[in-house]
Point group: C2
Chain length 445, copies 2
Amino acid sequence: MTENSALLTDLYQLTMLQGYYEQGMEETAVFEFFVRKLPENRNYLVAAGLEQVLLYLQQLRFTPAEMAWLADSGRFKPAMLDRLSGLTFTGDVHAMPEGTLFFPNEPILRITAPLPEAQLVESRVINLLHFQTLIASKAARSVLVAPDKLLVDFGMRRAHGSEAALLAARASYLAGFAGSATVAAGMQFGIPIFGTMAHSFVQTHVSESRAFIDFAKANPDNVVLLIDTYDTEAAAQKVVDLAATLHAQGIKIKGVRLDSGDLADHARKVRAILDRGGLGETTIFASGNIDEFKLAELTAQHAPIDGFGIGTHMDTSADAPYLDCAYKLQEYAGIARRKRSEGKATWPGRKQVYRRYDDNGLLCGDTVTLEGTPCAGQTLLQLTMKDGKIFDRQPTLTEARDHALRQLNSLPAPLRQPAKAPPYPVNISAELHALAKIVDQRDTA
Amino acid sequence: MTENSALLTDLYQLTMLQGYYEQGMEETAVFEFFVRKLPENRNYLVAAGLEQVLLYLQQLRFTPAEMAWLADSGRFKPAMLDRLSGLTFTGDVHAMPEGTLFFPNEPILRITAPLPEAQLVESRVINLLHFQTLIASKAARSVLVAPDKLLVDFGMRRAHGSEAALLAARASYLAGFAGSATVAAGMQFGIPIFGTMAHSFVQTHVSESRAFIDFAKANPDNVVLLIDTYDTEAAAQKVVDLAATLHAQGIKIKGVRLDSGDLADHARKVRAILDRGGLGETTIFASGNIDEFKLAELTAQHAPIDGFGIGTHMDTSADAPYLDCAYKLQEYAGIARRKRSEGKATWPGRKQVYRRYDDNGLLCGDTVTLEGTPCAGQTLLQLTMKDGKIFDRQPTLTEARDHALRQLNSLPAPLRQPAKAPPYPVNISAELHALAKIVDQRDTA
């Protein structure tokens, strides 16, 4: 199964398409993706995943093997199968650039396409936007808590599958991480990769010192030694004792890594041992159950740690492993639509988001209104795909990362904290309120 | 990037391999995968993901493109690159069959292979076993709470990427779900797929009734109508009003779906409307924020709901989105090993798990001991791969599902509940305690 199979969709999309094709309902539909409300520990979200959405849409088609399987299933009529076999995505996409901060009820992506196309892609579009946005939003919290530390994604093993591991590496890099331990993310996205050694390397050697020497000789340009396999401070002293010998061979010990116990306490003791031993330039890197709360605690304690490997908590967004997001129909055949299901009502129509900044360049308020309505502020949704083709040159990952860092630097101070802050002001325009009323009167008529 | 790329690994595996190859450290290593402790809301875990691990190991190799990228990175010496280019997995795998229940400190998989091979695969082996075990263990809780309901995986959109969506469909089916909404999971794993309609189908039509009629005609064998877009009970009445017309065309309304509001209350009202309208056989299916706790609540309220779509909470294992699991070196070159890092010490040596059942066929206690030590009970780890080739015929997904259901039925009553129960007894044998002491004395000597 390829990562962008057209069958990566919910069955109900296909059963609905069977109805749409049969009734000739192929006029233009407008769907928007947005988040209904923020999770408990989030003050903002970071838009991410657009590049993967555009690649998915641009290459969308059913393969002959998939068509054969659909036909064999007996669920679909010949006319429907015929349409599917020729289906491509021919619509337009408007979206916030990756790295843009956003808030509840603000669409970050709008798809305008013939109804069956816009419907079919719902499941995978949500799947891609939701996950990367989830991870970028989590990662940004660590970046803001520890802007001067080297932050590296260590989460592949407990990420939810291979695509989650790769996209978490991408999303955290986008949000300001320095890179990832996941090698494939280096090849696929050009993200810097980082790596040292595991406990097994120490355990397989006759002694810890022997393991350190062998590792240093094998990786002379990247000597970061893991020192907590048996006794952390004793190992730090072994590192000091070996330094002269390695130095004579032209090898510098770049750093040591701590992975268990009281990290602040060990870091202070290890720092003292290294400094006394003349290894003032050898850095201390820490890992093991780190998240932005732990990071804030270690920073407040002035723990002498230079960098962090952040894994499970970030790659699973452990304190908020999903967003309450949706991809909803806003307009069909030129007529605005909304659903009114209890607790899940949506704002109808094609929308645009406008953002205002104060004199210090800080975000001070957004307005969600109908596309085309005059409004003060910066327009956030931009055309990114036209007639099924990626429009113009899209930002590179590095450019998106720079944009994300500028956005994060424009956050008002209370929102930058890990703790929950009063909500950022998002105004729903009078035009939207008025349209919702008209739609409701029509639908209940 | 294919889902089983050899680059789906952490960089430190490769930096360690450079050391191992340089020092000729290629003797047999034994690694085991286990969970250190249960998450808050779990009384047991369901082993899953073995099939994907075996397929990964059996096909493991670096492609020419990957080799070129590694060479270009400048990180690796020619001798190392030469070894990687010829690397395959030649080891043995012992594992608990998928669907077996297990508890903390019990290895569910053991890899015995030349050290570099056993090391390289760590990241992806954990990634595959962790995720499917996580989801199967979460799904089993819903199966035990509502054994007589139709349970369907609805989670693709908020699963963490495409592989997570596919493997969550597989893992939940393994744990007893009836199937998934994810079409690709049907093609890839042969899992039954389910689907109805979304709100957008109703919204694009001039009226709800028109939408119901069009859907029924397009999908005459699968008429399940979503009735909460505007007013749930009014829509239920429309379903009743349409039934005769559709019946005259040979179309039966199989069911209706609720997706918002107070599900128990709506279900009771809708049931009454359907029954009064002669639609006693039309089932009620519910979705929207369902998990095992909500399911227990609805069951206790005797809500007349026949089936449930369970999505986000299951596919992200929302209340426990990761397991504290590890893949650790237990033996190298015939000598037992352990690490003693604070809070993360492991039991050394090649282990086996023995399970005892009481006279009623219920689980009554496990023992973890050294492989080859006599012990009462059923042996849980079995040979599944020999010299890099899948050993014998492995169970099909259906057979694994049957095994899982038998295992769940052998759980003592307190462990079957969603609430936390006293821990199941897992005994660490005297032999293991003795070996740990010997290893520690040696390593501190």
